[in-house]
């Protein structure tokens, strides 16, 4: 379809002209509000109090959402919002991993506040266009695009009937339409979802960037939480930002010299050491596959097992055969860690685009484990095809993989059968059946519609409609708070169980990844040690979400002398780099203590937000037993030696005197009790009461003792 034809069909619904300003020390101090029900577009100033308390990024998103919704707002009410916020350090070009932004809104999966991080150019270009956040509320009547031009100072809502919905086509169309020339494409970033985002609750958002070397539009994902579903529910087809003139000083930093120096230092570090460390520049995050498998923590067959002899077929070597590398595969300028691998041409074997050769933003570890080993499928080309279709259809590969694992185990256990699945034999390993479910999600038909509900609602559906045993499903359904687990086996690490269960958003590993520290290095032997780690690491990682930073350059590369420092797991030199970047941009001096405190403010605010939405207390921090230990005898016996030894060591029980069923139950009682004790320790360390509600003292200390918040805490606390 021609560009002119598409544009001619656009109908202008709303327009807003604004004064182009400039950023000051990382901030514009205003946010952009767009209401799709009324077509109102407005500029909202950011108060000094908000700026000081919420910093930016996820913090701004949470504050805007708190003010925009009520405790009873549903994800598909017009009041729900989609907020995209970068953060004060976002957009500098000198240091790797500084292009991130956060999407915040109410999630269809968890029914409460969700946050999702994403790379690509949208965040920085939004910022340079003059906005600390984009806040979208309301719903359009028919599909629209929202277009922000940061050089002209205009925002437009345009009805857009003719463009595609699926991302791989739409991103090219929108970039083509709004670019003045081929060169101009690099100045555009678009946000899109896809067909399956409309038919499932696991929709994601794709954020694009133009790859000049390949002359193709590529995407990064705000994967978790179902924001693509909210996007399509609001009848947004795409959001476009256009800005020409990226330079390293657009944030008007307080001290650009610090940014330059720190950036060059890290570039040099990556240039000399990446090859002997994780090889991110060559293989991206695929390096994790072999390690997880070797250490028995790769999720296999719905997290039943931790390794498989066939896992070698999904190793980084297997995928590298398909990757096409350039010297700069970062998702924002200046990221020399360059982890965004790509497959330039892959011929699709299934689905509506069968036979076409497409560019695939290459599988990350999460996708490989999620749709691969979790489903018992060890075929790299299946993973690539699945990755492509999930991206273009606009659904999260992690949720897709984990829910398929649940479906496959349910099928093999007889909970559901071919009648339910419409003839699909959804055994572990059946890649064509898995792809069929994915295509059904794209069309909104068949079993795909049920699968697209996600694990939590599927469990209820199976109980209500097929007489399934709810306790078995609760044991094997890998979801917590309504969100599917990401792809790490927490079974043998109590700290990681906390790392998944005690998050604000649900079991995404962006708060804490403690498996090795705990399980292998045994550096967190006591409850206090674990609680301390479950305080420090989530707060440390939350900080990145306030600033617009990617965590990979923090610890996926480390300085040569890191191993000789006191706490190598924290990569102290890099922590200092980040403090320096913050000072370099904002002019404010902070130390690690202040960094953690800034995060605690936002983290606790988010915890209370959950409370406001009807969650946020201890019972919602439960995790399925599959994440804690062997549910079945089969699982117990796959690690009998280890489990028998634990019965002996911790419980003084002679395993030879018990049968397998008894041992499963004894171990279970022990582990469930351990988890509850961990929860107690962590709540105490975080300044929460026994129900998991932040105490009055805590919210006062953090300066979020707003009237409505205090009232809420008092009402809900026993």
């Amino acid at each position: 379809m021609q560009k002119e034809q598409i544009l001619q069909a656009h109908k202008l619904l709303g327009k807003f002209d604004y004064q182009l300003g400039s950023l000051e020390r990382g901030y514009s101090d205003r946010t952009l509000y767009v209401n799709l029900s009324t077509n109102e577009i407005a500029e909202k100033p950011v108060s000094l109090e908000t700026k000081e308390k919420f910093i930016g990024g996820r913090g701004y998103g949470l504050k805007l959402l708190w003010d925009g919704v009520s405790g009873t707002t549903k994800w598909n009410d017009p009041e729900n919002e989609l907020i995209i916020a970068p953060g004060p350090v976002c957009g500098i070009t000198q240091y790797p991993g500084t292009g991130k932004s956060y999407v915040v809104g109410l999630s269809p999966l968890t029914q409460t506040v969700m946050d999702s991080n994403v790379g690509g150019y949208f965040g920085p270009l939004l910022k340079f266009s003059g906005w600390d956040a984009l806040e979208i509320q309301g719903k359009a009547e028919r599909d629209v695009v929202v277009v922000i031009d940061g050089n002209l100072g205009t925002v437009r809502i345009e009805e857009a009937p003719l463009e595609e919905i699926n991302s791989h086509l739409l991103i090219e169309q929108l970039t083509e339409i709004y670019a003045d020339t081929e060169e101009d494409k690099a100045n555009i970033s678009v946000i899109t979802a896809g067909d399956a985002a409309e038919h499932t609750l696991i929709g994601l958002l794709n954020f694009s960037f133009y790859d000049k070397s390949r002359q193709a539009v590529r995407i990064k994902q705000a994967g978790r939480g179902g924001f693509g579903t909210v996007f399509r529910d609001k009848k947004i087809k795409g959001i476009v930002v256009k800005f020409l003139g990226v330079k390293g000083n657009l944030n008007h930093p307080a001290d650009i010299g610090v940014l330059n120096k720190t950036g060059i230092k890290l570039h040099k570090e990556i240039a000399t050491l990446d090859d002997s460390q994780n090889k991110m520049r060559k293989i991206g995050t695929t390096y994790l596959m072999k390690i997880m498998n070797d250490y028995d923590i790769l999720p296999v067959r719905n997290f039943k097992y931790g390794s498989d002899p066939e896992a070698v077929n999904l190793s980084s070597d297997a995928f590298c055969k398909y990757f096409n590398l350039t010297g700069h595969d970062g998702c924002w300028y200046g990221c020399t860690l360059s982890c965004a691998k790509v497959i330039e041409s892959f011929k699709l074997k299934t689905g509506p685009y069968l036979g076409t050769e497409v560019i695939v933003d290459a599988p990350e570890y999460e996708t490989i484990a999620g749709v691969g080993s979790v489903c018992g499928i060890f075929d790299p080309e299946f993973v690539i095809e699945c990755n492509f279709y999930c991206d273009t259809y606009g659904i999260d590969t992690i949720s897709f993989g984990t829910l398929m694992g649940f479906i496959m185990e349910s099928y093999e256990s007889g909970v559901i059968n071919e009648e339910v699945t419409g003839g699909l034999q959804l055994n572990f390993g059946n890649s064509s059946a898995a792809l069929e479910v994915l295509h059904q999600m794209g069309q909104g038909v068949g079993f795909g519609k049920i699968a697209g509900l996600g694990v939590r609602r599927m469990k209820q559906f199976f109980v209500d409609n097929y007489g399934a045993d709810p306790s078995f499903l609760n044991d094997i359904g890998m979801e917590a708070k309504g969100l599917e687990f990401s792809e790490y086996v927490s079974k043998e690490s109590l700290a990681q169980q906390g790392g998944y269960g005690l998050t604000n958003k649900g079991p995404q590993h962006d708060e804490a990844w403690l498996i090795f520290m705990d399980m292998v290095n045994n550096q967190l032997p006591t409850f206090e040690d674990k609680a301390e780690a479950l305080h420090y690491f989530p707060m440390f990682r939350t900080w990145f979400s306030l600033l617009g930073l990617c965590k990979l350059p923090w610890n996926d590369i480390s300085p040569a002398n890191n191993r000789t420092t006191d706490e190598p797991a924290k990569i102290p030199e890099h922590v200092q780099n980040y403090l320096d970047l913050y000072t370099g941009v904002t002019g404010k001096q902070i130390d690690v203590k202040e960094m953690i405190r800034q995060s605690e403010v936002v983290y606790n605010f988010q915890r209370v937000f959950n409370l406001r939405m009807g969650f946020g207390t201890r019972e919602h921090d439960r995790i399925p037993y599959r994440a804690m230990g062997p549910v079945t005898v089969e699982e117990y016996e796959s690690r009998a030696e280890r489990y028998d030894q634990q019965l002996q060591q911790f419980l003084n029980i002679d395993p030879s005197e018990k049968n397998s069923e008894e041992k499963v139950q004894i171990l279970r009682n022990y582990r469930e009790d351990q988890y509850q004790q961990l929860v107690d320790s962590v709540y105490h360390r975080r300044g929460w009461n026994k129900q998991g509600i932040p105490t009055l003292e805590t919210v006062q200390r953090l300066g979020i003792d707003f009237n409505d918040l205090v009232q809420l805490i008092q009402e809900k606390s026993e």
Binding site: T93, N260, K268, I270, G327, G334, T336
Partner: protein
């Protein structure tokens, strides 16, 4: 291929080349803005771009290219100042200055060659 050739054993460290370079491109006598650098840490070293071109593929903005005479150049309007080229240059011959948004490198203009009293540097065409 056009580039600078060096003979470190002839260099006396007089700094005339650095002066000429910064004067030519920045109208200042400031070795920090020269794209040829002379250092002396137990022996004189001449650091100047050999036009190897490693930076071309590193550039995230596709701003670096090789011109018809083989000289590697930066398109300033496309450069976003990420300084990846500075960090990755195998010779340390891509330079950065805090007053400049884009890095600088030798473009083999030959002005410094004309000023060198000992013919320690020469221009290969």
């Amino acid at each position: 291929m056009r580039k600078l050739l060096t003979k470190e054993e002839l260099c006396t460290g007089c700094g005339a080349c650095e002066q000429t370079c910064s004067q030519t491109y920045f109208k200042e006598n400031n070795r920090e803005k020269s794209t040829i650098r002379i250092t002396d840490n137990e022996g004189i070293k001449i650091t100047v771009c050999s036009q190897c071109g490693s930076c071309i593929d590193i550039c995230s903005a596709n701003a670096i290219y090789r011109d018809k005479s083989g000289v590697v150049r930066i398109k300033k309007d496309l450069c976003v100042g990420c300084l990846a080229c500075v960090g990755f240059c195998p010779e340390g011959a891509m330079f950065q200055h805090n007053e400049l948004l884009e890095p600088i490198k030798c473009v083999a203009c030959g002005n410094c060659v004309k000023q060198c009293p000992t013919a320690a540097i020469a221009l290969e065409k």
